[in-house]
């Protein structure tokens, strides 16, 4: 079956490659329905284009779903070695970059301090004149292949990524002589030691690593997290060993002795590697990996990361007369970087801090409209292709660089890219797969004997730790409303930044959650809201990065504060002063209580099974009985499912104020509970359960609806008939899981964000109730596909968006009537339970309890 789908995709891929040959860079004058559609396009049928996600340097493979010439959704490429089908929230939100209403729409030239729109010819003339005869520096993000080569043709090329893992690369250079990052293979190990790294959130390749960790868990691995702040990765671990900020390296020796037999892996990075003792910790971890045998087995240098090529900040600061910034935003991190630059050209898709300083701005395509290639790991050669015609009058970054490089032989970047394709497989075939994965020779790294770095052991009363935010990464995701509205899994805050404090420290200053707090370091000061919780060690003060943009469109500008203003080279370990500005309720947090109060919502211990008692005969479900099983031991709270659901189901974004009032529209709520007793005893434990409509067999919402808007389908779905709903909200009151969402206001999709709307899903009107449908449109599409192909529906044909996106495969969906289906098997798992079983609602969503291994 899967082969058939693959074939289908291949055919589409060929069609896509051929069809897009004629891509022009001019925007259409008028949008009219296709009278004679392009050959490969059938109205109502989705086309899939494989490409590479460029929302962070991880280089995950993606598939863009295109309907009638517009991209509606981005999903993970199941054949891709980096992410294997899953995709994180930021990757899912790439479409909101594509359709962002604040995108740059035409070239702009700065005249007398003001930006003036000009034609492309005029702008390019100015750029060419400005660059002629001067030493040029080209600053890009992490790139490889064609763009890297083109940048080199124009001038001195520098790759800038704010999250540059400099300490880790330095440690690897010292220890192994390889100044890059190794591949981490979690899947085969029995013990995972994490030293302050945000492996699941943003570290190097979070989707791939999350997948690896989940696989290791399925094989019985135990995970220990050492750190001063309970990050999402820390919450995922079986045990959190809290340490003083920066002291992660000091417990390594102890842990090494206690390390159980069997393969293990140790990882550091994140806050642990960003302070003055980061190098010590990183080297200690390298030694631990070498000693435990993890080196060359689960920590492998035969493929190294593209991030090995990043420039240092010192290199960036070397002045150049003319600078071209292409697809990067260094000014957000270093506001003074371009102050004295005589001629700055920004090739960008959005107005941002760098374009604010630029003399000429050339609007370029977003990655979903662009050609390109990227090799995140040696030999993993990913390709990027446009999934649709450009939304605005923008040009491909590669095309603009080609012009600036005065490179004649190829007329377009696509041809240039193709001419540079050196892999043994032909370009089109690789394009259909998403790239070419080449075998690499084995590299055996060996620990150098003379490695020794002493810890400084210097401890300060309060130190600042900044960390890249799960939703916004280094800030580039901040203009996506889905990501702004995505609750931070730890704090549950939205549309803001905050400072995390331990209750002890907060008491000293009289600070409570929501109060305005001034945070001051020697680099600067900011004022933001406090979040007080026991998941951070006393003495540590943590802030997420990525917010507080001064120019990044309507969704990001002025939201939160920029923690980068407080830090220098070291992201962590900066001495910090905190003081209360005023008492307030400033932080908008998803409403909810932190403790389970003994109600067994997210279970970590076995539940007493209850007999199913009813006076009524059971429902019969034909031909299918749809159900979902969510493995809480695999779920790590990454929230990818939430964003996938927004994209698939046209869920509106409501904004900060309305979220604060409880009007959050997300169909999936990631329930976060502090573990039993952890408010008083240390260390804190956090448990997660994604919760959507439970599709109860005996649904309390159904009998109370006065107009039959909430009804049970023959296949076990609890259906909501939007156009029948009158909006009494009785169903929501009666839902014990509180999974129904009411449209308090008309949903807003400012153009062209409305182009993203899934044509298969109704956009709900004001005043009606909505909720998870188990992606009924995808079930119907799968059935149609099976019928057209003349075969019965197979397990795995119908996959809701949440299950599709899940990087760890925690969500399994299928037919309970089919005893061989994966969901039927999962429901026989002894860890199985249903939430609030005593109510006898008989949910179709079954949970597999989380295990805390000791």
């Amino acid at each position: 079956m899967t082969t058939k789908r693959r074939d289908f995709l291949k055919i589409l891929g060929i069609g896509g490659a051929a069809g897009l040959t004629g891509c022009s860079t001019t925007a259409p004058d008028a949008l009219v329905p296709y009278v004679t559609p392009p050959e490969e396009m059938v109205r109502g049928h989705a086309l899939w284009f494989r490409s590479t996600c460029r929302e962070c340097p991880a280089g995950c493979g993606i598939e863009a779903r295109v309907r009638e010439g517009r991209v509606h959704k981005v999903e993970g490429n199941p054949e891709h070695p980096v992410n294997g089908g899953g995709l994180c929230a930021r990757g899912q939100a790439a479409v909101q970059g594509l359709y962002n209403p604040d995108r740059l729409r035409s070239p702009l030239v700065r005249e007398g301090g003001k930006l003036k729109p000009v034609s492309w010819d005029e702008a390019l003339k100015r750029v060419q004149a400005g660059l002629a005869g001067k030493p040029v520096t080209v600053i890009t993000g992490s790139v490889t292949g064609a763009i890297e080569e083109l940048a080199g043709m124009i001038g001195r090329r520098l790759q800038f990524e704010p999250i540059d893992y400099a300490t880790l690369r330095e440690a690897n250079r010292i220890c192994f002589g390889i100044p890059s990052l190794p591949v981490l293979r979690f899947a085969e190990v029995k013990t995972i030691l994490v030293f302050g790294t945000d492996v699941i959130e943003t570290f190097v390749s979070p989707v791939g690593y999350a997948r690896g960790i989940a696989e290791a868990r399925r094989n019985g691995a135990r995970m220990i997290y050492v750190g001063s702040r309970l990050s999402l990765t820390g919450a995922r671990a079986d045990e959190w060993i809290p340490v003083q900020p920066g002291a992660e390296g000091l417990v390594i020796e102890r842990l090494e002795k206690e390390l159980p037999a069997g393969p293990s892996i140790a990882v550091t990075g994140g806050t642990a590697s960003c302070d003055q003792d980061g190098l010590f910790t990183a080297i200690a971890v390298n030694r631990l990996n070498a000693a435990s045998g993890a080196l060359n087995r689960s920590v492998r240098f035969d493929r190294t990361s593209a991030l090995g090529k990043l420039a240092s900040r010192a290199q960036l600061q070397e002045a150049s007369e003319a600078v071209v910034v292409a697809g990067a935003n260094p000014a957000y991190w270093m506001p003074d970087l371009f102050r004295k630059t005589p001629f700055l050209v920004a090739l960008a898709s959005f107005p941002d801090e760098t374009t604010e300083m630029a003399h000429v701005i050339l609007p370029v395509h977003t990655p979903l409209e662009s050609w390109g290639d990227y090799e995140p790991w040696t030999g993993i050669h990913c390709l990027q292709q446009p999934a649709m015609r450009p939304v605005f009058d923008t040009r491909d970054l590669g095309d603009v660089l080609l012009l600036l490089a005065n490179h004649k032989p190829e007329t377009s970047f696509r041809e240039f890219l193709r001419s540079r394709w050196r892999e043994p497989e032909d370009f089109t075939t690789a394009l259909q797969r998403g790239g070419y994965w080449r075998d690499v020779p084995e590299v055996r790294a060996a620990l150098k004997s003379d490695v020794n770095v002493a810890p400084s052991l210097e401890r300060k009363p309060y130190v600042l730790q900044t960390y890249p935010s799960l939703a916004h990464f280094d800030g580039r995701g901040a203009n996506r409303p889905w990501l702004q509205e995505l609750p931070d899994p730890i704090t549950q805050a939205v549309w803001d930044s905050w400072v995390e404090l331990n209750p002890q420290d907060a008491d000293v200053h009289g600070i409570a959650t929501g109060d305005r707090v001034r945070v001051r370091t020697r680099h600067g000061e900011v004022e933001t809201a406090a979040y007080v919780y026991p998941g951070i060690e006393p003495g540590a003060v943590a802030m997420p990065l990525g917010q507080g943009h001064t120019a990044f469109g309507r969704y990001a500008t002025g939201v939160g504060v920029n923690a980068a203003r407080l830090i220098g080279e070291n992201w962590s370990g900066e001495p910090v002063e905190i003081s209360l500005v005023r008492k307030a309720h400033g932080l908008v947090i998803i409403p909810g209580h932190d403790l389970q109060e003994g109600r067994g919502i997210v279970r970590t211990s076995p539940a007493e099974p209850r007999p199913e008692i009813s006076l009524y005969p059971p429902h019969t479900h034909t031909p299918h009985r749809w159900a979902m099983a969510i493995d809480l031991d695999a779920c790590n709270g990454c929230s990818a499912c939430i964003t996938a659901c927004y994209a698939e189901n046209n869920v509106p974004v409501t904004g900060k104020e309305q979220v604060g009032r409880g009007r959050h529209m997300s169909w999936i709520r990631l329930e976060r509970f502090f573990g039993p007793g952890s408010a008083v005893t240390k260390p804190l434990q956090i448990d997660y359960a994604p919760m959507m409509c439970q599709h109860c067999d005996k649904a309390p919402c159904e009998p109370v609806c006065p107009v039959f808007a909430s009804v049970h389908s023959a296949e076990g779905l609890n259906a909501q008939i939007y156009n029948r709903c009158v909006g009494t909200r009785y169903c929501a009151n009666n839902c014990p899981y509180k999974q129904r969402r009411f449209n308090w206001f008309p949903g807003e999709f400012p153009a062209p964000l409305d182009w993203q709307l899934n044509p298969d899903v109704t956009v709900r009107s004001v005043g009606v109730m909505e909720k998870c449908t188990f992606c009924v449109q995808r079930i119907v599409a799968a059935k149609d596909r099976a019928r057209i192909e003349g075969r019965p529906l197979a397990d795995g044909d119908a996959v809701p968006a949440c299950a599709q996106s899940c990087p760890t495969g925690a969500i399994v969906f299928g037919d309970l009537n089919n005893p061989a289906s994966r969901v039927s098997k999962a429901c026989e798992n002894p860890r199985r339970y249903t939430v609030l079983e005593e109510l006898n609602t008989r949910p179709a969503v079954r949970y597999l309890r989380r295990e805390r291994r000791t």
Binding site: G592, R663, V704, V707, V726, N733, V835
Partner: protein, 427 residues
């Protein structure tokens, strides 16, 4: 007091009003108009402008609905039930009480519409014939509500009108011009013949018998809106009697609140005597104690059930964010009527008005506490969230009071507020 003077005294209330009346009328109309504006604003911008939210999907609107339905209870109790029991003191009060019933229902009936997400399709709750064959869900208590409340309104209107026919004839006989025509039509050709009286008495007893079970059923069904759900704090068998007792309690309080100033303004002291008022106060002692018992049983059952959800909700009611409302309502509904044990309090109109106002406030908060606290704390702790009303809700609430009193003022000027024929009969 002879028949002529009774007629003269009581028709006097219908004399053209003075300036003060119109000023008050205009003020009430302005407040009601502001409420209507708030509703139109809410329809224009979405229900989100109100404070109701997730998970508290019902707030001030449903509270107000239940409050006004409750107010509507005393009318039928006084006119029908006390009539069947041949309680003589009812005769001077029941017309006003019935007016309170009908006007309160006319106010209450607005709130299910106001709280709907899409009020323009509210008629879908009624079983009207249509081609799609769609029907309302007769398993839903909200549909029962539609029937219960509309039945109550229809029967109450019939009873109100029937009881007024002989009085309307008196008014007709004393009017000239177009008024005579209007009242003549309303009097339905009443001549006061022996035959008419015989039929009339039979019909009146019949209607009283029909109306009596409605006193019990309407508020029982309204209480099922809550009791039939699975929300902890709502799902309980005591709700129907508890709600009926509460409804009568609040209804009596509202009738007293209205009748006392009215009797003063219209000089009806000799018709609505202190004794009548004191009897109502005594009835309130009973209903107040019934309510106190219900409150106690609710808490006992919550504790005795051992159900953690029930216990948590009731603990939250007593000590959580809305604890002030709970203690306020207990003091108002159960505590204040106990003062009526003192004869001096019962016979003092200022005391009566003050305590009745307190009971009205208490009964409003009783519904508020039941609705809001249960929704704010149900099964899943991760969904716990508070509710606070916002300006549209408060405006519409104020508007509803203004609307009710506006209607009552109009009633007091166009229809006889005291039943002349029954006062004569009881002489």
């Amino acid at each position: 007091m002879n028949y002529t003077s009774i007629d003269a005294d009581l028709v006097k209330t219908m004399r053209p009003a003075g300036r003060a009346y119109y000023i008050v009328l205009a003020c009430l109309a302005a407040i009601a108009g502001w409420g209507a504006y708030a509703w139109s604003y809410q329809i224009r911008h979405g229900l989100g402008v109100a404070g109701i939210t997730w998970p508290v999907g019902w707030g001030i609107y449903i509270t107000t609905f239940v409050f006004w339905v409750g107010i509507a209870h005393s009318g039928t109790l006084i006119s029908a039930v006390l009539f069947l029991f041949r309680v003589r003191w009812r005769s001077s009060i029941y017309r006003s009480a019935e007016a309170v019933t009908i006007l309160a229902l006319m106010t209450a009936g607005l709130f299910p519409l106001i709280h709907l997400g899409r009020p323009w399709v509210a008629y879908w709750l009624t079983p009207y014939p249509q081609m799609g064959g769609l029907s309302p869900n007769f398993r839903s208590p909200l549909v029962w509500d539609v029937f219960a409340v509309s039945t109550y309104l229809i029967v109450s209107l019939l009873f109100f009108f029937t009881g007024m026919v002989p009085d309307l004839a008196i008014v007709r006989d004393r009017s000239r011009g177009w008024r005579e025509k209007v009242y003549g039509f309303l009097a339905q050709g009443w001549q006061g013949t022996n035959r008419q009286w015989r039929h009339y008495a039979a019909a009146y007893v019949f209607l009283a018998g029909l109306a009596t079970p409605l006193v019990i059923s309407v508020h029982s069904i309204v209480s099922w809106d809550f009791a039939m759900s699975i929300v902890p704090g709502w799902h309980t068998t005591i709700f129907p009697p508890y709600f009926v007792a509460g409804a009568i309690h609040s209804g009596l309080a509202m009738v007293l609140t209205i009748v006392i100033p009215m009797r003063r303004l219209f000089g009806l002291d000799s018709y609505i005597t202190h004794e009548h008022l004191a009897n109502m106060a005594k009835l309130m002692i009973v209903t107040g104690m019934l309510l106190g018992y219900s409150y106690g049983v609710e808490y006992f059952v919550a504790w005795y059930s051992g159900n953690i959800y029930e216990r948590s909700v009731f603990f939250y009611r007593a000590f959580g964010d809305y604890a002030w409302a709970l203690w306020l309502l207990v003091a108002c509904n159960v505590g204040s009527p106990l003062l009526f044990f003192f004869s001096r309090v019962r016979h003092s109109t200022p005391w009566l008005v003050a305590l009745c106002l307190l009971v009205n406030v208490g009964m409003f908060f009783e519904r508020f506490v039941i609705i809001v606290t249960s929704l704010a704390r149900d099964y899943d702790p991760f969904t716990w969230h508070q509710y606070a009303p916002r300006w549209p809700e408060l405006s519409i609430l104020a508007g509803s009071f203004a609307w009710f009193f506006l209607l009552f003022l109009i009633f007091a000027k166009v229809l006889p507020v005291v039943s002349m024929w029954e006062v004569k009969e009881s002489q």
